[in-house]
Amino acid sequence: MASEIKQGTLDFINHLPILQVITPMLIAPVLVVLNNKTLSWLLSFVGALACLLISVLLLQAVSDGSTLRYYLGGWVPPIGIEYRIDAANALLLFLISMISAIVLIFSYSSLHAEIPEDKHTLFYACFLLCLTGLLGVVATADIFNVFVFLEISSLSTYVLVAQGSYLDRRALSASFNYLIMGTIGATFFVIGIGYLYMATGSLNMMDIAERVSQLGQNRTIQAGFAFIVVGMGLKLAMVPLHVWLPNAYTYAPTVVTCFLAATATKVALYVLIRFVFSVFNYEDSFVNELFFLLLMPLAIIAMIAASVIAIFKQNLKKLLAYSSLAQIGYMLLGLSLMSQKGLASSLVHMVNHGFTKAALFMSLGAFMLNTKNIYIKSLKGLGKSMPFTSAAFVIGGLSLIGVPGTAGFISKWLLLEAAIEAGYWLIAILIVVSSLFAVIYIWKIIEVLYFSERAGSYREVSVVTLIPIWILALFCIFLGINTSLTVDVANIAADVLFN
């Protein structure tokens, strides 16, 4: 193992980047061999905890602005594959590992309601592969490796979404739809990589970046960039390439929805960020124009239109899915401002929204465990019979709206500040308007929860189910009061990416 940064080949910290990715990958086949439902849950959970531990260590190691590099098989880049961890992806690795650990606690008590028991082992194996893919996409500094891991995560996601078919057969068509769209996206992405390789002859991000700056204005590279933006636009559900998302979120099992909503689209956005700043030249006029003329308007349309659509949805999972589209709009908007503040706000919102949306989807899942129904009417009066789940939902909802004291407020504050810094007053007002729409659709649910007559007699879900929900809800508050984890790291990350 050659490492230029830290001496000593057995130094544990040097191997963390690869351990982060292969831990879940190695556990996945073991589950299939053991074929035991409880054991596979336990092993997945242990794996997720190990990932979490590794990601925390990584975050600590790079939170001073340094970079950890790992050469796969000892091959020095640009020949070999390199894993590179800096503040930006360490933050994402932490988010993904944390959410997966929390989601796995939830699945222990909720999965049997949605998937037949003999399929649990395969489910967990798929889940771990999906986790591997997401972590790999984030950790690697090799663009073809990004594609490989993206496909690992996507293929396992299609399977995971289709698992919802035991409750509702529409999950199959949702999954198929996602498969088609996702594959088109991946194809665009790989074509883009091909163009880059054609022009530069390299797959390593740093290496390409150097050669791109030497080439100057180059049609091949611009075409490659355009393909990559469209491909990732599909994966991150940028309006109007979003059509796969609402159905996939709605019909997937709750566990999967929580996990995807909190991580998958963020990872795709991260790839876009990484390409803009570490592969291409963000000061390039083509990149800037593309963001200013194309992505920014699309982000604003998503912010407003998806919020308005969410108001009229009766199916709660769909409502939250459309709200996710709007929130992705915020993140894309922050990025397209092309400023350090905007980028930081985008990164912060990835984490904050990850926890917020997971809390909302998970408490929704807890309601569904009781009511077996995802329509708003089924929640009537549950505020009284399921006080703890409802309270967690309210906290998540307030964070989504961006009430001060919650995580959502911090990201909204940063985004507004970035918009004002750039002098876009109109955009600042549109951000505010969009969050007022969030008030409407969240409040619609809260009213039904607390101020309608009880529809049936339900009991509060078990403590095991409540624990993960409340971990997420408390995160929504904690991240609104202590921002050293999010804002400070995101500022360092934005600094690293800009220089």
Binding site: L398, I401, G402, V403, P404, G405, I410, W413, L416, E417, I420, E421, A428, I429, V432, V433, S435, L436, V439, I440, W443, E447, Y450, F451, S452, G480, I481, N482, T483, V487
Partner: protein, 487 residues
């Protein structure tokens, strides 16, 4: 006790009392006694802050969220006055609420008292906020916590009213106020309240005018036209809520924020030099007259009082817009005297409702003779609102008139006089009809009597205080002047 501990206790005690409400929900007597104790303690703590105040405006930082954005507290004369007012009136309102909620047999009483106590906690947080961010935090909290109180009845009418309430209050604060706060933070880098303001000429005159607008409209709780609709809508709440929250705590939190932002963020000096508030003076005058005229058309007593409140709140916005020290003094006095006057009126309206289930003024003829204490209290409160001696309210108007002369805006004086006449026209007929006219069915009227002493005593007390304020207003003026708020 050290000041920071006292500040913490004033915020924490009502919250704790609220939590205990749920704990003792099975036993209403214990629950209500505990809350009463909480109210007394909160008042005791804020009185201690008042007594221990030496004019030093130290910032007590609790937590730093981002650089320049802290949760921090400080004490200054306006905040002390507001906290004393809210915690003192909470004691009386709580006693009244016990009688009212039981008398009117309202459901979900524990939930009601739980949120009631919590809203007082956030009012305490507002009064001692050390910067705009903390103020905004508690301001939003107050909106959210009072929502279940407004929608308490759970009927579709109550829900509709509560929706208007929430959407206007959240809409203005997120849509306008937050923008203003971020703009200031972006330009200045701090949000701390500092005597004399923090803007220091960083904003041009047009920008300053926009910023004033963002706050004047963004502080929706001040109910300035055209964002006043929430106040009448909130009248679907049980009367104790209308009395304490929508005559005192919530609306006063609004105008208190207006004054506080004026004095400690804008700075009255720079406001008066730049003339950025001139347009606001006209708008506030319009709001005063407009709301009074609408109040005259309302037959529902609570609706009439709600519009009267809108009109009276605009006095404080007017005080801010005059941008001189006499105006700020007049505004502070208006906060105090209107609180006592209006809470009296609302509690009287509530006791009429508990005793007779009547809500319309036209049905109340002849009622004064069977409920003399209630109607006398109403009369005293009304005179104080109108601003006639010998009631406290007259001083607020006095200083406002002086302030408008000092600001060289004579038309304001005329507006204030017309408004007083309008107040007479819509407040006093109730008392006159109650005492002098006979109802069509006087037998039915005579079957009513004063409700329990829990209900009629608190308004009698607040009415007496309105009267006493007339003689002791000098102390308040000295308190504000001595500590250099406006000197």
């Amino acid at each position: 006790m050290p000041i920071e501990l006292l500040i913490f206790l004033t915020v924490f005690t009502p919250a704790l009392a609220g939590g205990l409400n749920l704990f003792f929900s099975k036993n209403p007597n214990v629950r209500d006694t505990v809350t009463l104790l909480g109210a007394l303690l909160t008042f005791y703590f804020s009185a201690n802050i008042f007594l221990g105040f030496d004019g030093q405006a130290t910032q007590y930082r609790l937590a730093t969220i981002m650089p320049g954005i802290d949760i921090s507290f400080h004490i200054e004369p306006l905040g002390i006055i507001f906290s004393l007012l809210a915690s003192g009136l909470w004691i009386l309102t709580h006693i009244y609420a016990i009688g009212y909620m039981r008398g009117a047999k309202e459901k979900n009483q524990s939930r009601f008292f739980f949120f009631f106590s919590f809203s007082i906690a956030s009012v305490m947080g507002i009064s001692f906020s050390g910067n705009l961010f903390t103020l905004f935090l508690f301001y939003e909290l107050l909106t959210l916590i009072t929502f279940p109180l407004v929608s308490h009845k759970g009927s579709s009418e109550a829900l509709r009213g509560a929706r208007v309430y929430l959407s206007i209050l959240l809409g203005t604060s997120i849509g306008l106020q937050l923008l203003g706060i971020i703009w200031i933070y972006f330009s200045i880098g701090t949000l701390d309240f500092v005597r004399g303001g923090i803007l220091n000429g960083s904003f041009g005159s047009l920008e300053l005018m926009i910023l004033v607008g963002l706050f004047a409209f963004g502080i929706g709780k001040a109910a300035l036209f055209p964002f006043h609709r929430w106040l009448p809508a909130a009248m679907v709440a049980p009367t104790p809520v209308s009395a304490l929250l929508h005559a005192v705590a919530v609306v006063k939190a609004g105008v208190f924020t207006v004054l506080k932002v004026g004095v400690y963020i804008f700075g009255i000096e720079s406001l008066s030099v730049s003339g950025a508030t001139d347009w606001l003076t006209s708008l506030a005058c319009f709001s005063i007259l407009f709301a009074s005229l609408i109040a005259m058309t309302k037959d529902n007593l609570k609706a009439r009082l709600a519009y009267s409140t809108i009109s009276q709140l605009a006095y404080v916005v007017l005080a801010f817009s005059l941008a001189n020290s006499l105006g700020i003094l007049g505004g502070a006095l208006q906060i105090i005297t209107h609180a006592f006057g209006k809470i009296t009126l609302f509690m009287c309206a509530g006791s009429i409702y508990v005793a007779t289930k009547k809500t319309n003024i036209s049905d109340m003829q002849g009622l004064g003779r069977v409920m003399p204490i209630t109607f006398l209290s109403f009369l005293i409160g009304a005179i104080s609102i109108i601003g006639l001696p010998p009631m406290g309210g007259s001083w607020a108007k006095w200083f406002l008139i002086l302030a408008s002369l000092e600001a060289d805006k004579q038309f304001v004086v005329i507006v204030l006089l017309i408004s007083s006449l309008l107040n007479i026209a819509y407040l006093l007929p109730l008392v006159a009809k109650g005492f002098y006219l006979n109802a069509e069915d006087q037998k039915e009227i005579e079957s009513y009597k004063e409700p329990s002493s829990f209900v009629w005593l608190p308004p009698a007390i607040t009415a007496s205080i309105s009267f006493l304020l007339f003689f002791y207003v000098g102390y308040i003026r000295d308190f504000i002047n001595n500590f250099g708020l406006v000197g």
